[in-house]
């Protein structure tokens, strides 16, 4: 906060207080207090460097707390898993943690205890004093991993257990069915959502070694350092740890692999899951995050979220919690508008009717009001300081920019872009990207309760599917 702004704010408050403190016993709360204008948002200064071997460094200083968040963004993620070996990325990353050329996994763990933080090859958060030791360990795991059979077996076992656990919550099935209908079951992003015990079992030591050789290299790696470290020290430390990493050709991550199914007329996919609660997913494919339409559709999606709260929770009591908003993937991949909630199985038809009606309203008869637009701006832009509160949050935003290939002034531009969205833009974005005539709707719940009501309500064609998304003949 600038000195001038502090003084101005104090002056306003002081004036206001002098007029009212005397009557503190009987203050009139019928009028909302007058407030100062909103503070303008400025993302902290970002410094970037590139080492001779191509490794990139991004630094943001924040000396509030003696803590440094280190994040190492690789040029690969789970969407590079080959078909039938989903989980390879996760197993490889895990195997890197199982020992280096000079340290066993036990010695590594003992070293983490000295750092006071669990260090991984993709990052850690440590106190200022322990940071350099943490970076040394992260670098050793990333550049000189042991990658032997024991390491791979141990991580496969852990990953298989995790896959089994992740399939358990009742929200897992509708989510997967939804994305499979939206992007196609063969889409690498969709496949990466659910490594199965079988696909993890298919991963071999050779796969892991090859995956590592092909995808992990300095030229596709970005180190993000945020917190109580100066730019100068950050550069020196990263050069010390990573400067000797041999350049080698890494496979660039593929952008063209994500498919998208052609839009189909709105259809409800219903999977039978016994129980009183049902899960609902509603969505549509959206623009890439770097598209000029991104801000209008984000606004439209946020307004749908506000209306969803008002209607499905506050007015009708159908839901306890629900979300609606854009799910961004890294550019240039298509995003998705996704709304999800859980309601009583007997209320699925009523909830869907209500929900679709509010989505329909977005594009025409109940277009965004100035109050709604204002609320969304205040919420999205006003929330930015909270989204960078603390080194870990700040690092998460920087990683978001690096991973999604956004310009590093993205958040500084964001406020202005959101402010320029007009009601007509919202309606246009809603009719294009939240298109009520071409939605994917997934319902999981008790078929006997839900199906007759859904068919009677005649909202859209109903296709009953099995847990793999395959239609079941009636």
């Amino acid at each position: 906060m600038s000195e001038r702004r502090v003084l101005a704010a104090r002056a306003i408050v002081a004036l206001f207080l002098s007029a009212t403190t005397a009557s503190a016993q009987n203050i009139d709360r019928s009028k909302r207090p007058a407030i100062a204008p909103p503070p303008s948002f400025k993302f902290p200064k970002i410094e970037t460097h590139t080492l001779a071997n191509g490794l990139r460094l991004v630094v943001v200083e924040d000396h509030t707390v003696p803590l440094i968040a280190a994040r190492i963004v690789l040029g690969v993620d789970s969407t590079a898993d080959p078909p039938g070996k989903e989980g390879l990325y996760a197993v490889t990353l895990g195997a890197l943690r199982e020992g280096t050329s000079s340290m066993s996994s036990e010695q590594l763990a003992e070293a983490f205890a000295d750092v006071g933080a669990t260090v991984t090859p993709t990052g850690f958060t440590a106190t200022t004093a322990a940071f350099a030791r943490g970076l040394t360990l992260a670098g050793a795991m990333l550049m000189h991993p042991r990658l032997d059979q024991t390491a791979v077996d141990r991580r496969k076992s852990a990953q298989a257990a995790l896959s089994r656990r992740m399939a358990q919550p009742p929200s897992a099935l509708p989510r997967h069915l939804f994305y499979a209908e939206l992007y196609g079951a063969a889409d690498p992003y969709v496949r990466s959502l659910v490594p199965t015990e079988m696909s993890v079992a298919a991963v071999t030591l050779d796969d892991v070694r090859r995956f590592y050789e092909q995808h992990v290299a300095p030229s596709t790696t970005t180190v993000v350092l945020v917190g109580d470290v100066t730019d100068r020290v950050a550069l020196a430390e990263v050069a010390r740890v990573f400067g000797s990493w041999q350049t080698r050709a890494a496979m660039p991550s593929s952008d063209s692999t994500s498919s998208m199914l052609a839009p189909r007329p709105t259809t409800i996919y219903l999977a039978d899951v016994p129980g009183t609660q049902a899960y609902l997913y509603i969505g549509d494919a959206g623009p890439s995050r770097t598209s000029p339409d991104a801000y209008a559709v984000e606004t439209a999606a946020a307004i749908s979220g506000i209306r969803m709260q008002q209607s499905l929770r506050e007015k009708r009591s159908f839901m306890y919690s629900g979300n609606a908003g854009m799910v961004w993937r890294r550019a240039p991949w298509a995003s998705a508008y996704v709304g999800s909630t859980s309601v009583n199985a007997a209320k699925v038809d009523s909830a869907l009717v209500e929900w679709l009606s509010l989505l329909r309203g977005l594009r025409a008869d109940r277009a965004a009001t100035p109050q709604e637009l204002d609320a969304v701006r205040r919420n999205r832009v006003g929330a930015l300081p909270a989204r960078i509160d603390g080194a870990d949050s700040l690092a998460a935003r920087v990683v978001e920019m690096v991973r999604d290939r956004l310009p590093l002034d993205y958040f500084d531009q964001y406020a202005a872009r959101m402010a320029s969205v007009a009601p007509t833009d919202v309606a246009a974005a809603a009719s294009r990207y939240i298109d009520v005539d071409h939605l994917i709707i997934v319902v999981t719940g008790d078929r006997a309760t839900i199906e007759p009501a859904l068919r009677a309500a005649n909202i859209a064609p109903v296709v009953v599917v099995d847990p793999n998304g395959k239609p079941i003949d009636r």
């Binding site: 906060m1 502090v6 104090r10 408050v13 207080l17 503190a24 203050i27 709360r29 909302r32 207090p33 407030i35 100062a36 909103p38 503070p39 924040d62 509030t64 707390v65 003696p66 763990a109 205890a113 750092v115 006071g116 933080a117 958060t125 106190t127 200022t128 004093a129 350099a132 040394t136 076992s157 995790l162 089994r164 399939a167 358990q168 009742p170 430390e237 010390r240 899951v273 016994p274 129980g275 009183t276 609660q277 008002q310 929770r313 007015k315 009591s317 159908f318 306890y320 859980s342 009583n344 204002d374 205040r378 919420n379 006003g382 929330a383 300081p385 509160d389 080194a391 870990d392 949050s393």
Partner: protein
């Protein structure tokens, strides 16, 4: 598993080593508590203000000393119901606080939370809106539940029913927590019932009941206001006096006796769930709470048993014997009592009987091979980092100060506890084990519905505590 987040002892560590150097020895650490201004109004309201002007953001966290332990028998779920009702607007605010705060740039992981001991309402907001938030919070404190009518009441009840279905009944083993405390604490004990129990009593309640039951707790002398961020403490003081100063003090109902309890003997129960695809073994002891001097020893023990790679249980069960995919040991410190819990997720095919036997062998070996100074050092090292990281955000700082004030009358008790943790000796931990982790414990076998062949030590007598909601779904053939 318990959803209550165990409170880590928090501390800001001042690092005396000024520059970052590779390979230095362990740095000297001194604890520097958060700097705060304590404001006590004549009506009993206490506010704690931590100033941080580094960005234009302020967190406001209003704590009321009412939790599920204040629910009376036959009136379960009231504290949580009141939390929802308190969020439904106030005399001069015609919408829910949740929607209002969102519209002025507020963010919050949740609008509010009710625990065993407290209810709090929190928001992080652009600092130009601080006065608006204090206005809104004082408006609802001055006239709690003023906007409640029959229609809103019914709507809130239905939302709570959804919350229970979504977060407890429809989650694999989601009822394990409420079943565990029901076994650990006897009927009538304030911790016997959890904060979101089955809906019976909630449906029986009327609006007048609620105003009479909860109203007396929503008063300034039962509240603590935590504020952290972009505000001058003197400005905060003036605003707090202006908005909250005129709200009268009222008599708060007497606190229930929630002293720690002990089980006379081991209890064994089984919970089946048709949503689960793998079993779990959960072992719980009823232990002491936040204020007890053995709290730190119990936390250090949890670390020694489950810390990554070295935990005595995690090393044996995950690494050496490969019987488990995860081992979690937690100490849940409520205000007046607590629960010490060992949770093991077996690998497919692993015997829970074998796992229980191995857990018992590790616990039985503790007197002969006590927790070592190296194990305590690992605990303290992780603790120091967690402590700094835990106070990164303004919300966490406001929360920490309010918690210390309400539970101990000392906003920075966390710093003193970190210092005390550094002084822990193996003998301290040993004494705590002997006192609290006795034969009187609860062993829960959590299994997929119908899989009673998976339970631990099936030859011993057990009670099947499976509620209808856990097997209401048909078991898939």
């Amino acid at each position: 598993m318990f959803s209550f987040v165990p409170r880590r002892a928090l501390v800001v560590v001042t690092l005396l080593a000024a520059s970052v150097r590779a390979g230095t020895a362990q740095p000297d650490l001194t604890t520097r508590p958060l700097v705060y201004t304590r404001i006590a109004l004549p009506n009993g309201l206490v506010a704690l203000v931590n100033e941080d002007r580094s960005s234009p953001l302020v967190a406001v966290d209003v704590w009321y000393h009412i939790g599920s332990k204040d629910d009376k028998p036959g009136r379960t779920g009231m504290a949580h119901l009141c939390e929802h009702l308190f969020n439904e607007g106030s005399p001069n605010l015609e919408q829910s606080q949740r929607a209002f705060y969102s519209s002025i740039g507020g963010t919050s992981p949740r609008p509010a939370n009710t625990t065993e001991d407290i209810t709090h309402f929190y928001i992080a907001i652009p600092s130009n809106q601080l006065e608006t938030v204090l206005w809104a919070e004082s408006d609802r404190m001055a006239a709690p539940f003023a906007r409640m009518d029959g229609q809103r009441f019914v709507a809130v009840r239905e939302v709570i029913r959804q919350e229970r279905e979504q977060n407890i009944e429809n989650v694999p083993f989601g009822v394990a927590r409420e079943l565990a405390v029901a076994e650990l604490f006897p009927a009538g004990h304030p911790y016997h019932v959890s904060q979101l129990p089955p809906m019976g009593d909630v449906y029986a309640a009327t609006i007048d009941d609620l105003k009479a039951t909860c109203g007396p707790y929503y008063v300034p002398n039962n509240a603590v206001l935590g504020i952290s961020g972009d505000v001058d403490p003197s400005v905060a003081r003036a605003l707090i006096e202006k908005y909250f100063g005129g709200i009268p003090r009222r008599t708060v109902p007497p606190r229930p006796n929630a002293s720690p309890v002990a089980l006379a003997a081991e209890k064994r129960v089984v919970l089946e769930d048709s949503r689960a695809n793998q079993p779990r073994l959960q072992i719980d002891w009823p232990v002491v709470g936040f204020a007890h001097p053995d709290r730190l020893a119990l936390r250090a023990l949890a670390s020694a048993l489950s810390i990554n790679r070295f935990g005595r249980l995690s090393k044996l069960l995950i690494d050496d014997r490969q019987l488990a995919s995860a081992v979690n040991v937690e100490y849940y410190d409520f205000e007046k009592a607590g629960v010490f819990e060992i949770l093991v997720l077996p690998r497919p095919g692993a015997s829970m009987t074998t796992i229980e036997t191995l857990v018992d062998s590790v616990m039985a070996a503790l007197p002969l091979s006590p927790v070592t100074t190296r194990e305590l050092a690992r605990f303290n090292n992780y603790n120091a980092t967690t402590a700094v990281a835990s106070l990164e955000t303004r919300f966490a700082r406001a929360d920490t100060l309010a918690h210390g004030e309400m539970f101990a009358g000392d906003p920075i008790i966390y710093a003193k506890q970190v210092a005390a943790a550094r002084a822990l000796t193996p003998a301290d931990v040993q004494r705590a084990i002997k006192r609290h982790l006795t034969a009187g414990r609860l062993v829960m076998s959590l299994v997929p519905a119908g899989k009673l062949d998976l339970i631990a030590k099936p030859g011993l007598p057990f009670t099947n505590v499976t509620p209808p909601s856990s097997v209401r779904a048909k078991v898939q053939p």
